[in-house]
Symmetry: C2
Subunit: 337 residues, 2 copies
C-alpha cells in the first residue's frame, strides 16, 4: 500500500536518467544493457505507469463514457455488452453514466467532457432538445448519439426506424384478423414516444382502420407504469383484441394485467412490444416484439466513435439499423412442446 515507484525511482535504482527509463518503457531504441537494467529495476520495484500523469502529457485518457437513461433497462444493458468489447479491443475503458432520463444531467455529462477525463462519449438521450444539440456541437470530445437527431445536426448518429417498426407490428396484428388494436405509449415529449405515436396513427390509417383515441393510452416506459396504463386502456376499451406496446417493459406489464383480468393471450388479446429485450423470449407467453437491433446499434456506435477518435475531422455519419419483427406466442399462440 506504499506510494508506488515512479520512473525517477527506477532511474536511481538502475543508475540511468529518467529519459532512458521512459524510452525503455516505451520501446524506443536503447542500448541493450540499459534496457536490461531498467527492466529489472522496474520489475523489482513493481512499477506501474501512472496513467494520470501520462494522460496529462499525451492528452488522451483511453477512457470512453456511455451515458444512458437508466442502467436498469435491459435495452441499454444489451448495448453495454456490445460496446464494451469493441472498446476494450481498442484499448479503451468504459465509464458508465446513468442519467435517469434527466435533461439537466445529460447536458452536464456533455459539459463534463471538457474535464478531459474521457476521450469520447456515446449517449442515448430520451429527449433531445435545443439545449442538447447546442451542448453536443460545443462538446470538447467526440460524441456519438444513439437515437434520431434532427437532420443536419453535426454529430455521428446511430438511429433506428421505429416508425417502420410500429407498422410491422400493426400489419402483423391486422393479418391475424385483429381490428381493435390498442396502443400504450410512453411520454410524448421523448424521442421514441413521439415517433411511435405518429407511427401508430399513420399505421392504423394505412390499414384502413379508424383512429379511435379511446384505444390510446400514455404511461411511461417502465413495467409498473405500463401495467397501469394498460389497465386504464382495458377499462376504456374493453373490446380491444390487440395491444401494441411502445416497449417491451410496458408489454410485460400488459401480460401481467391481462392475466389478472382473465383475458387469454393471444386468444382474446394479442400483445406485441418493442426492443426485443432478452426477457421477451423468456416471458410467458413469450412476447412478440419489434427488434430495433439494440445490440447492433451499440456496436455501430462504438465503431463510429473509434473511427472518429482515429480521424477527428471527417464528416459526421448517420447509420440506420432496420427494425424487424420477432414473432412469438403472445400474438400467434404457443408453439407445441
Amino acid at each position: 500500500m506504499s506510494d508506488g515507484p515512479t520512473i525517477t525511482t527506477i532511474a536511481e535504482r538502475a543508475g540511468v536518467s529518467i529519459a532512458s527509463v521512459s524510452r525503455v518503457l516505451n520501446g524506443l531504441p536503447t542500448r541493450e544493457d540499459t534496457v536490461r537494467r531498467v527492466l529489472s529495476a522496474a520489475d523489482e520495484l513493481g512499477y506501474v505507469p501512472n496513467s494520470v500523469a501520462r494522460s496529462l502529457k499525451s492528452r488522451r485518457t483511453n477512457q470512453v463514457a456511455f451515458a444512458m437513461a437508466d442502467i436498469g433497462n435491459p435495452v441499454y444493458l444489451t448495448m453495454v455488452r456490445e460496446i464494451q468489447p469493441v472498446l476494450k479491443a481498442a484499448g479503451y475503458r468504459l465509464v458508465l453514466h446513468s442519467t435517469d432520463a434527466d435533461v439537466a444531467e445529460e447536458i452536464d455529462v456533455l459539459r463534463s467532457l471538457g474535464e478531459r477525463y474521457v476521450d469520447g462519449l456515446i449517449m442515448i438521450p430520451l429527449r433531445i432538445g435545443e439545449a442538447h444539440l447546442k451542448a453536443v456541437e460545443a462538446a470538447r470530445a467526440p460524441v456519438v448519439i444513439i437515437g434520431s437527431v434532427p437532420d443536419g445536426t453535426r454529430v455521428d448518429n446511430v438511429r433506428t426506424d421505429s416508425r417502420t417498426g410500429v407498422r410491422l407490428a400493426l400489419e402483423h396484428f391486422h393479418s391475424l384478423g385483429r381490428r381493435r388494436i390498442g396502443f400504450v405509449n410512453g411520454p410524448l415529449d421523448t424521442v421514441p414516444g413521439s415517433a411511435r405515436s405518429t407511427a401508430y396513427a399513420e399505421g392504423i390509417r394505412e390499414l384502413g382502420l379508424p383512429y379511435d383515441e379511446n384505444l390510446v393510452e400514455i404511461g411511461d416506459f417502465y413495467r409498473a407504469e405500463g401495467a397501469q396504463a394498460v389497465s386504464r386502456l382495458l377499462s376504456r376499451a374493453p373490446d380491444l383484441d390487440a395491444v401494441m406496446c411502445a416497449n417491451d417493459l410496458i408489454a410485460l406489464g400488459a401480460l401481467d394485467v391481462l392475466r389478472r383480468a382473465g383475458r387469454r393471450v393471444p386468444e382474446d388479446v394479442a400483445v406485441a412490444g418493442m426492443d426485443d429485450i432478452d426477457l421477451a423470449a423468456v416471458a410467458w407467453p413469450s412476447l412478440t416484439s419489434v427488434s430495433l437491433g439494440s445490440a447492433e446499434r451499440g456496436r455501430l456506435a462504438a465503431e463510429l466513435l473509434l473511427d472518429r477518435l482515429g480521424n477527428g475531422d471527417r464528416d459526421p455519419k448517420v447509420v440506420t439499423v432496420p427494425p424487424h419483427l420477432m414473432i412469438r406466442a403472445s400474438t400467434v399462440g404457443e408453439e407445441t412442446p
Copy 2:
C-alpha cells in the same frame, strides 16, 4: 471543438495570476473585485477544469471501479444500480469492468489499480485463489471484495451465507412433502459453487434424507447450460419431485426444460433458485428463490469503500448479509388472480 481554456488563459484575460484564478475557482478567500473578474472571464471562455491535471496534483481521481464476472448477469446489474447512486452522492464516477470470470483478467484489474486511474475498487470474483489474495493485499488502492474470502485476509469484505440459503430452500421443499430433491450446481471450483455444493449435502442429511449422487448435476451458472444440466438430471433421476438450482438463471432454464418435458411446476416438480433476480418474479410460474440480498450487498460494498476512502487505516471489516426465502408459485402453486 477548440483546445479549451486553462487557468492561464483566464489569468491573462482577467489580468491576474494563475494563483488567484485557482483560489477563486476553489472558493478560497479573495478580494471581491478579483473574484468578479476571474469568474466573468471563466464564464466568457467557457472554462472547464481539467480533471486529469487536477488528479495528478491531488492524487485523487474521483473514480471508482466495479469489476464483475459478467455484465450480462442481472445479479451484478442489481448491484450496479445500488452502488452507482451511493458513489455518485459522494462525488465519484463508476467505471465498469467485465472480467468474464477470468482469473487473469481479474488480477489484471487489481494490478491496474497502480495506474491510479481510480481511487478504489469493488470486485466480485467467481473464483478466489492465492493469486487473488496476494494481488488484493498488494493493491495500491482500497479494495472491497463481494464474496467470501478466507478468514484473516486483510480486505474489506461483504459476504452472504449461501449455506443457510440453500438450507432454507431445502427445508421449504421438505415441508411441502418433497423427498426426492435434485440439485443443479455451477462449477465446483468457484466460490459459490463449492459453498452451495457442501450446503446441499449437509442440508439433505440434516433433513434425514439419503444423499443420492444421481440427484446432483453440475453445469454452469448460465441459463442454457443450466437447462442442459437439468435435462441430464431428469433422465438420470426421473422420479425427482423438486429441483434446487444454484442460481436463478439455472432455475429459469429448469422451468423451460420441465415445461417441454410435460412436467407441471410445482405439482410434479417444485423448483427453487438463488439470487432472487428481477426475472424470478416475472417468470411463469413465478420462481421461488433464495434472496442473497444482492442490492444490499452492493450498497454495503459501496459504503465500505467510501468509508475506507475517507479513513485508509482502519482495520478491514467483514459484513454479512443474511439470506431469506422468497416463496413463489414454482413451489407452492399459482396465487389466484
